[in-house]
Amino acid sequence: MSVPRGDLAELRATVRGWCRAHVPADWRRAQTGVGGDEFVAFQQAWFQELRRAGYAVPHWPAEWGGGMSAAEQMVLYQELAAADAPRLVLAFVSIHHAAATLLTAGTDEQRRRHLPGILDGEIWVQGFSEPEAGSDLASLRTTARRDRRAGGDVFVVNGQKLWASGAAHADWCLLLARSDPAAPKRRGISYLLMDMRSPGLDVRPIRNALGDSHFCEIFLNDVEIPAENLVGPENAGWQVAQATLSAERGMTMLELAERLGNVGLRSLVDTCRRPDVTGRRPIDDTLVADRLAGFDTEIAGLRALCRDLVERHDAGTVGPADASVVKVYYSELLQRMTGFGAEIAGLGALAELAKPASSGWESGRWLLDFIGSWEWTIPGGTNEIQRTIIGERGLGLPREP
């Protein structure tokens, strides 16, 4: 953290002022229950708004439109959260995973081709998981057969991807596919950039527990991907994916923690300060007050964990299980908090049928938020897997035989 504190205070004031001027008034109400097109339009507009301010991709190198230090990014995300700005949902994979992949392992040509596109609003999707390869991602079966004869050098891809969030709106896909079926499972995978307009592609939305369909299946039937779209060496895709998955350096977790600690806790406290039919405020019940104070405390702990994670990334001292600790803690805190909100809101929570699009995981529609919290405890390696990672890589406990 080399930025002088005075400059940070100035940045904080600037961002705060910008938020006052630019965060759309009443966007939560306006975005509640909107359809997919309206959601995409709102997200794209907000992305360009942030981009104009220099706040869309602060973590990118300066030459590509970013250039904020970790300390500055922390201030930015704290202020966006404090102002309850809409979240960047649709661009998430584009500005984080796709960008990190391109910046870390891509060629100059690939970077020049795609990074400006992302800034202009190109949407990316992650094509990693498969029906039989969830937590055990390395067992993926989608094949990429290299074919140099067919009028060019291409990978011909066949298979099926699952849990591709936002695939219905995506322009490009980060694809992992098995290019050497004979190699050990982590040694035969290649990392490809796939144009979502390619022939042979079929995207089918999957309805989730909330009734939304942001997750999709992608069916791949002899889809041809030019060999120039290979990232990293052939058959080294697993290593590329590992290296870039954590490239957001803790900042997205920090943003989520700030969201939880701002609008999340505030809404929960507000829910508990609202008198019930008998005129009593739940917060005056020590049982409720105790839980609220517990959440306040846990959020403070989460924020400290996240700041620490960002600082360790920055200092190069990040441990192999640090991100897992944060993920387990955040996701289960989110689940406890939203679950408690649903309990306090009682029957009323059942009658809230839609939550605002572009909001965080704690929209204040507590039962919907509660159900949505499994979207944090399951994907990206279930919390059971994360605990194994913490035990083995974080604490050095012996692996299963």
């Binding site: 039989e132 309990e343 929570a349 009658a351 049928l353 499994w374």
Partner: protein
């Protein structure tokens, strides 16, 4: 199959309530247990078929089917064309509806509708309705307070949702009840009201009558139907104000206990379904070259689900016994009603069952979602239906915290009694 199941379900048991005075109805009696096992098997079968039939999201069970199966008049006496069995049998149906996450207006019509009517003084109108009920016409809903309020220290009367003003032809009804089970589909409404003397009574009403409004309340749990019932000076038809046998307060309290117990049974069935689904999935789903159920994280998670379902089943069984005993006593007691101690015993047992089981079912469904992994989060898997259903059951007829608060007041009072 329906004819067959109907036959099984309405077969009068060797020993109905009252046949063994002094025993716990529902407990340890061989003939009763056999009957319930048969009823359970038939119900499970029938609901699995019915709920699967239309493939829709709400697993609506055909109304005629419920009537044919004989489930609507289970507790209606023989003399009124019912099966004359106890709430223990009703509890079995509730549990199986929960297991199937089935949509059926059973809570409104039978659990609460028949339950309310059976607690009333005998009148022609009441008997007629009971007789009709067994054959499935009309559908009923009972407008009770469905939230935490009646569990408060103030007790039931202060929270009865409707008030009667005037009497006879001049009687007018005012009040409002929310989240009333099956209200929107009901053809006849039974409204819990206080008469001018402050005594709880039941008022029969019809949706659409002047001054009365019934509105469906869409909820996330699409397998349930709830609605709001509002009356603003609604004229009451002659002969539509019915009194409880004995003390109206006790009658009202037992009726609320029925509602709470019914959702506890529903949650028990739902939790068992989620446990079974999770065990099944964990046995076949492979990751890292082995069934995920062979990993301790999954196996121990399932073990915890079994432990809490087992505890919940014990509590639900005890509460069912207590309510069956009290209901028999209420029925047998005639105008004399029922002793306060018996009502308290029911409330204690029901509060335990409701608070534990309805909270556990949410936890079990949540754990089921977790252990199903990504599949569990899809709409198609149906796990979310159980989670939402369990969430509604948890809030309906008193939150776990409200029931525990009532239990704690009882613990304090008991200790004070011991100290004296």
């Amino acid at each position: 199959m329906n004819a067959h199941s109907s036959e099984l379900a309405v077969a009068t048991p060797a020993g109905g309530p009252g046949a063994h005075p002094g025993t716990h109805p529902g407990a340890g009696d061989g003939a009763d247990e056999e009957l319930r096992a048969e009823l359970r098997a038939v119900a499970r079968d029938l609901l699995a078929t019915a709920a699967g039939k239309d493939g829709g999201d709400d697993a609506q069970v055909d109304w005629a089917l419920l009537a044919e199966a004989g489930w609507l008049g289970l507790e209606v006496p023989d003399g009124l064309d019912g099966a004359g069995v106890t709430v223990a049998e009703t509890a079995v149906v509730c549990e199986e509806l929960g297991r199937a996450a089935a949509r059926a207006p059973y809570l409104g019509t039978t659990v609460l509708g028949a339950g309310a009517l059976l607690a009333l003084e005998t009148t022609d109108g009441r008997d007629e309705l009971l007789r009709a009920l067994a054959t499935g016409a009309p559908r009923l809903a009972v407008a009770l307070p469905t939230g935490d309020a009646p569990l408060g220290a103030a007790g039931v009367p202060g929270t009865v949702p409707f008030r009667l003003a005037g009497s006879g032809a001049a009687a007018r009804l005012t009040g409002r009840a929310e989240f009333v089970p099956d209200a929107a589909e009901a053809e006849t409404l039974l409204l819990l009201a206080l008469d001018e003397g402050g005594e709880p009574v039941v008022v029969r009403a019809v949706p659409g009558q002047p001054g009365l409004e019934v509105t469906a309340t869409p909820v996330l749990d699409v397998s349930r139907s709830v609605g709001a019932v509002a009356a603003v000076g609604a004229p009451v038809e002659a002969g539509s104000v019915w009194r409880f046998r004995g003390d109206g307060r006790a009658g009202g309290r037992l009726l609320l206990a029925r509602g709470a117990l019914a959702v506890a049974c529903d949650s028990l069935g739902a939790a068992e379904a989620m446990l079974a689904a999770t065990v099944g999935y964990a046995s076949v789903r492979h990751q890292f070259g082995r069934p995920i159920g062979s990993f301790q994280a999954v196996k121990h998670g399932c073990a915890d689900m079994l432990v809490s379902v087992s505890v919940g089943r014990g509590l639900v069984t005890e509460a069912t016994r207590a309510l069956a005993a009290a209901s028999s006593a209420h029925a047998a007691g005639g105008a004399g009603g029922i002793e306060e101690a018996a009502v308290i015993a029911v409330e204690v047992a029901v509060s335990r069952a409701k608070s534990y089981m309805c909270a556990a079912a949410v936890d079990v469904a949540g754990k089921a979602m977790q252990l199903h992994g990504g599949i569990g989060y899809t709409w198609e898997s149906g796990v979310h239906r159980y989670l939402k259903r369990a969430a509604l059951s948890r809030a309906l007829f008193g939150s776990p915290a409200a029931h525990r608060a009532r239990l704690a007041r009882r613990l304090d009072a008991d200790a004070a009694g011991r100290a004296r």
